[in-house]
């Protein structure tokens, strides 16, 4: 027993010493990176303040840029997104939109708005992507090219765009990311300084939540009022203004955000384009570029420019954020494992000997070890071997160092570009820097362990979702809390008003038709959008909601005649007779919210950032389309003469199809049929 006790104590002591030593080393690394970042930022600010005395729109030497935009089921916003890109301020730009097998009207909307016509010729290149159906040119916008192809995911769509791009540089942009109008002029700077050597440059991604966006321009920068997005602002500032700048100082930038990055087209083609079997293609492409160019013994520059900004919406709920972060973690592990030959390999210079190993230690193992510490500490206390005083001091010191590093990031932002101009916002950011050490940071260690387990299990859930359509952080934010409509509305159908109210969501459906919901009571309920109504396909109303995700598995709605294809044993049909469905009611569209069983319903509300969000409303004025959905037992109560009911008998509806909710396995089986 003595021996066993001694062994346990010894194990705890050794582990404790290891954790302390590990922590000290990683934080010393972070501190160095932060200090380096300050010097880099100083130089970048000074560089951005100097404008050479020549007219850049008159020179023949500015490199042209192809903006490659993968799009999947973006019918509601693609028109505005492309319009915003066509307005980018740059001498020579081409916009390549890749419709990645959308199941909604994305292509049709583009064809109509931009007067597109299919090029009557096959693509004469071997493009490493899913088959391309057609390539479209606009009769009015010479610089617009639209590629329509089979679904293959984001990487696949990017490859199609890159192979058909006509410019020496291409800029990969997420379709829901808002880019500053002058962003291309800024992100191209490394290619202007080193025309032959530069191969990639990245910009800053900032949080768009609560910002005022009009016509694709961020007109007002605001700090999110809610905690989780606010904490992420803090994180992004630290990641970009400390992390990436610091790595850039030592020529060790190994990550350029997929939402906004500029690359030399030939260089990416040389390495075969984006890998389709990875879920963090942005990390993977830069690491592979480093590897390839070093193997080729070529002098090159990968740079980070802190001024050009792309704005994106971040998850507002823990569930969606957790899903996002697990995906990032899995992707990081995958990329590290794939490129492990670079670790401690002098052939790859500073990237192989310093940057990559420290990145692995800090970003990959760091959260795991920290999480392990949180488990061991209570055990050590239980076994009486924890010096509580020591632990308290240690915790305060680590928290203090963590806060200091966060505040360092805020200082960098205030000192340089100062987008958060109000000192009050800066104080809130500093407060978030404190807050994130109490709960948020600990929660992230759980997410990391969860992500590792998913990776070890070979979990490709995001990869599978990629097959149906890539997601962005914004998609995930919108997906949070949305649930199987079949199960949920089935319950609502029987439970009437209370359940209908309970199934209401309180946020974040975007106009793309993504799901709603931050309301935990909607765990089994939700609201879906279906793109057509039987009577009037182009009117406002329900739309397709693709890829509704739950904790258990991702899913989506598909039309089918077989009610058993999806989760549950039924789906939604449109009908004029609500007796056709289970229960005695359904959802109708109306301009009068009092028409339904309660005193309100759900309507689309334009949010500050231009997206449409589904919210529970008792007043349908000033909402998108001046109407919304209410639950009722009277199918004629609404604007039309019917509505949607949940049923197990699809022939009860106006046609023989219903909308079933499927998870991907079931969807794959269906596709194979």
């Amino acid at each position: 027993m003595h021996t066993l006790a001694h062994a346990v104590v010894g194990l705890f002591v050794v582990t404790g010493l290891f954790v302390v030593g590990y922590y000290a080393l990683v934080n010393a690394y972070y501190l160095c990176i932060h200090v380096l970042a300050l010097f880099e930022l100083r130089d970048d600010v000074r560089e951005s303040n100097w404008r050479p005395p020549f007219r850049r729109f008159s020179t023949p030497f500015y490199p042209g840029i192809s903006v490659v935009v993968p799009a999947y089921n973006e019918a509601a916003t693609i028109g505005e997104s492309v319009q915003s890109l066509l307005s980018l301020n740059y001498p020579e730009v081409e916009i390549v939109v890749v419709n990645d097998g959308s199941t909604d009207d994305t292509l049709a909307r583009l064809v109509e708005r931009y007067d597109l016509e299919a090029v009557d010729a096959d693509v004469p290149l071997d493009v490493p992507s899913e088959p391309i159906h057609d390539v479209y040119r606009s009769r009015t916008y010479e610089e617009l090219l639209v590629v329509d192809k089979d679904n293959g995911g984001k990487s696949d769509a990017l490859n199609a765009g890159v192979w058909l791009a006509d410019m020496p540089l291409f800029c990969a942009v997420d379709s829901d990311t808002v880019i500053d109008r002058d962003a291309l002029l800024q992100i191209v700077t490394p290619f202007l300084e080193h025309p032959a050597k530069a191969v990639a440059s990245g910009g800053v991604i900032r949080v768009a939540n609560e910002c005022v966006v009009r016509d694709g321009i961020v007109e007002e920068v605001n700090l999110p009022k809610t905690g989780l997005p606010g904490l992420q602002v803090m994180e992004y500032l630290r990641a970009f203004y400390s992390g990436r700048l610091g790595l850039n100082r030592i020529n060790g930038l190994i990550l350029i955000s997929g939402a906004f990055g500029l690359f030399r087209t030939d260089a990416v083609r040389e390495i075969g384009g984006y890998r389709q079997d990875t879920i963090t293609e942005d990390f993977d492409i830069v690491v592979r570029l480093h590897r390839h160019l070093t193997d080729e013994d070529r002098d090159y520059v990968v740079d980070f420019v802190p001024e050009p900004v792309a704005w994106t919406e971040v998850p507002a709920t823990r569930r969606v954020l957790g899903r996002q972060r697990r995906r990032w973690y899995r992707g990081m592990v995958e990329t590290v494992v794939t490129n492990r030959a670079m670790l401690f390999n002098r052939k790859y210079g500073r990237v192989g000997t310093v940057v990559f190993p420290f990145f692995v230690a800090a970003e990959m193992f760091g959260p795991l070890i920290e999480g392990l510490g949180y488990v061991l500490l209570p055990l050590a206390w239980y076994f009486g071997i924890l010096d509580v005083q020591f632990f308290a001091v240690f915790f305060l010191l680590t928290t203090g160092v963590g806060v200091f590093l966060s505040w360092f990031g805020v200082f960098s932002e205030v000192w340089s570009y100062n987008r958060y101009e109000s000192p009050r916002d800066v104080l809130r950011l500093l407060w978030y820097g404190v807050l994130e050490n109490f709960g948020y940071r600990q929660w992230k260690t759980i997410v990391a362990w969860h992500g590792l387990i998913e990776y070890l299990r070979g979990d490709q859930s995001w990869g599978v979702m990629e097959r149906r359509g890539f997601g962005t952080d914004d998609d995930e934010a919108a997906e949070s809390g949305a649930a199987a409509l079949g199960a949920g509305l089935g319950a609502m159908a029987t439970a009437g008003t209370a359940t209908a109210r309970g199934a209401a969501t309180t946020g974040t459906a975007t106009a793309r038709g993504d799901a709603t919901a931050t309301d935990e009571t909607a765990a089994n309920g939700g609201f879906v959008w279906i793109d057509w109504l039987a009577e009037a396909p182009d009117t406002d109303g329900l739309r397709w909601l693709d890829r509704i995700a739950t904790e258990e598995a991702p899913g989506r709605f598909v039309p089918d005649t077989d009610r058993t294809v999806g989760v549950g044993d039924g789906g939604f049909v449109w009908t004029r007779d609500f007796a056709d469905g289970v229960g005695d009611g359904g959802f109708v569209w109306t301009t009068d919210p009092s028409v339904g069983a309660g005193d309100g319903g759900f309507a689309l509300v334009p949010a500050a950032d231009g997206a449409l969000r589904l919210v529970e409303k008792t007043d349908f004025t000033d909402v998108f389309g001046d109407g919304g959905f209410v639950w009722t037992t009277d199918p004629t109560a609404g604007a039309g003469d019917g509505g949607f009911v949940w049923t197990r008998e699809f022939t009860e509806g106006e046609n023989d199809e219903g909308l079933v909710w499927v998870v991907d396995a079931a969807g794959d089986a269906d596709a194979e049929d």
Binding site: R51, P52, P53, F54, E421, P423
Partner: protein, 372 residues
């Protein structure tokens, strides 16, 4: 907490070590907090003041600019420090947009703000960015005197570009001198600003430019030589005499990037008979690099004479790199001297190129679709 930490012959209690670390961390936190908040407040106040006066100052500046007598000196004398900053910023913006008499009049404001004097001090004592700002201001204000008076030696490609630009824009030195400044260091590539400046200088002094190139091209780095070749391709209308043999030599150099750039440059000089040797052209179309071959195809299409088109079509028939074939057919379609039937031998590449050319024409002209 008990125990000691020993090192370098000293034993220090753990408590003391932890307290010391805590003090350091606490101090760092306090400093970073006050610095951050203080700087944010300062910037907020400063930026608000700037924004509040900017529109008024812009209005005042334009009124004086287009008035009878701007009386810049008097006006500048009445400005506060913040207002002077804003006026300088406005001056910078407007000088980049205006030309002619308006710009000349505006430059007098620069004198009133004592910008040339400050530029002179920065040239002498400043770091790289201060020197760049100084050169830029002197260029915008057309005031080369401080530069000529200073013992200034450019230390980077950016500074060489800025100095050369000053020479060209102000006439402080002949364009040939600007060429010499830009190409003084044969190792480093020029920034795009420098390449554009080289282009402007080469247009004014093409003989000096081509002579320098023909004498030194073998010693230059690949990246710089590619830039010089690219500039060469843009100055064709300025060339009257000059040794172009180095261009054909570059087409047979070791580096594919150089050969491709040489081909693009030669595209502009096709009217020179000595360059049109058929054997030479066939050798060029057999280059091992598909990117070079593509550039050669574009060169031949630019020339457009019977021999060139014949060589091009023969080469394209046996081209197995799809992207090179596509660039070749695109160039051939643009040349517009090959009918559709003959082009169909190139398959999808010809059809694709023809379709896109038709769309380009339609967008540019707004005309009906051209059937190919």
């Amino acid at each position: 907490m008990t125990g000691q930490i020993t090192g370098f012959g000293y034993a220090v209690p753990v408590t003391v070590v932890l307290v010391a670390i805590a003090l350091v961390v606490g101090l760092a936190l306090a400093v970073s907090f006050y610095l951050t908040v203080g700087w944010s407040v300062y910037r907020s106040v400063h930026d608000t003041r700037r924004d509040s006066v900017r529109d008024d100052l812009r209005g005042e500046l334009l009124a004086r600019l287009f008035g009878d007598d701007p009386e810049w000196e008097t006006w500048v004398g009445e400005l506060s420090g913040v207002e002077r900053e804003v006026v300088e910023s406005l001056l910078d913006d407007h000088l980049r947009e205006l030309d002619g008499d308006d710009a000349d009049r505006l430059r007098e404001l620069g004198d009133a703000l004592a910008i040339p004097e400050r530029a002179s001090r920065r040239l002498a004592d400043g770091d790289e960015f201060e020197r760049l700002h100084a050169l830029t201001w002197l260029t915008l204000l057309r005031r080369p005197e401080p530069y000529l008076a200073a013992d200034f030696r450019p230390r980077s490609p950016r500074e060489r570009a800025a100095a050369a630009r000053l020479c060209i824009e102000t006439g402080a030195a002949p364009a040939a001198v600007a060429v010499a400044i830009l190409l003084a260091d044969g190792d480093e590539e020029l920034p795009v600003f420098g390449q554009d400046t080289l282009y402007r200088a080469a247009r004014e002094a093409p003989s000096a430019f081509l002579t320098t190139a023909s004498e030194h091209y073998r010693t230059w780095s690949t990246a710089l030589l590619v830039q010089v070749l690219t500039v060469t391709g843009h100055i064709d209308t300025s060339v009257r005499t000059g040794d172009l043999a180095w261009l054909t030599a570059a087409l047979e150099g070791d580096e594919p990037a150089v050969r491709a750039a040489a081909a693009r440059a030669l595209g502009a000089f096709g009217w020179r008979r000595p360059l049109r040797d058929r054997v030479f052209l066939e050798r060029a179309t057999a280059d091992p690099s598909p990117k070079v071959r593509a550039a050669v195809y574009e060169m031949l299409a630019d020339w457009g004479d019977e021999t060139a088109v014949s060589v091009l079509m023969h080469a394209l028939v046996s081209e197995d790199d799809r992207r090179a074939l596509l660039r070749g057919t695109r160039a051939l379609v643009a040349h517009d001297g090959v009918d559709g039937e003959a082009g169909r031998v190139f398959g999808d590449a010809w059809a694709w190129s023809s379709e896109h050319a038709a769309y380009d024409r339609r967008v540019n002209r707004g005309s009906e679709r051209v059937v190919t």
